[in-house]
Symmetry: C2
Subunit: 188 residues, 2 copies
């Protein structure tokens, strides 16, 4: 592209004002959760009440984003039981995911939050631990001011259908595939 | 997927320890910059010095993420001149983008930062305002501890080639396409 291709006209002006939106970040690539956290940062800076519920990460694994988010006033709930392959009791892991959904329902229905992030919720949905139809129903019938971001690979079709904005994070390449270890400060 | 498909084995253990990585968030979809900001949040929480340089957004447009980032201790430089279609003097807009790159070079080469985010740098690169070969050279020869995230649509091939991790944010759907206006707190 040359300088002459510099856009001199903006996009068409949008006309519809939505009271809130549902966003889904899915795909195999990096950035599904971090994009949700970046948006949470934006939302809390506007004075909204923001809640992040982590369905897979457990409270045992204190990560950098949690520390930063809490210092910004974001409510951060790591209800998950950690990676399933570390689980010593899969029934317990499943019960914990169900509990995370019970808490999420309360947060969404309360209408107190400008943004609720359901981080990695697609996994327990796909494993049959949380009923997809109920998740879709609760999101669809949420108080009108509550924005929702759901993240995780393989977002169920009903969730994609319901969402206003869906982004597929596609992996063009990933350092992990070359055996590069996760870097503290970048990857967690 | 059924409960029996719950993964019980983790991925292969990585063996290589990289002192830093280069990440590129590109594509037409939402989340390129917010994923970079989410990672910046993570990095600053680990005690790193972090700098975000915005190549397109101007200081006139104070956005939520800037306020939150600054309160976390992230250095946030909005050197851009705003959207090109709002420019009243394209030579000035170009000079400002070049200046943003001069500042970025200093920040990267200083070795003081654990993470430097070059937000929306692909646009001035693609418009021929900043030499791609130089950007690639500076990143390639950076101090080994400096991680880099570059964002923007149409990432130049040389930048993709150099990067360790490249994610294409693909738009499955976007509320804007239905004429929904940007929401303060979500989109800016």
């Amino acid at each position: 592209m040359k300088s002459k291709d510099v856009p001199t006209e903006g996009p068409a002006l949008a006309t519809t004002k939505a009271s809130s939106v549902v966003m889904v970040n899915t795909g195999e690539g990096k950035g599904k959760s971090t994009a949700a956290f970046g948006t949470a940062m934006r939302a809390v800076a506007r004075g909204w009440k923001v809640c992040v519920i982590q369905f897979v990460k457990s409270g045992k694994w204190k990560v950098g984003e949690e520390k930063a988010a809490v210092s910004l006033g974001i409510e951060w709930l790591t209800i998950g039981d950690g990676f399933t392959w570390d689980s010593k009791n899969m029934d317990r892991t499943e019960a914990i995911a169900r509990h995370a959904w019970t808490v999420s329902k309360e947060k969404i229905r309360s209408g107190d939050y400008g943004l609720v992030v359901l981080d990695e919720i697609t996994y327990p949905m796909n494993w049959g631990w949380i009923p997809t139809a109920e998740v879709v129903d609760v999101i669809k019938n949420r108080p009108p001011s509550v924005n929702i971001i759901a993240t995780g690979r393989d977002a169920p079709a009903e969730l994609v259908e319901l969402a206003d904005t869906v982004t597929e994070m596609r992996k063009t390449k990933h350092a992990f595939d070359r055996g590069v270890r996760a870097i503290r400060g970048i990857d967690f």
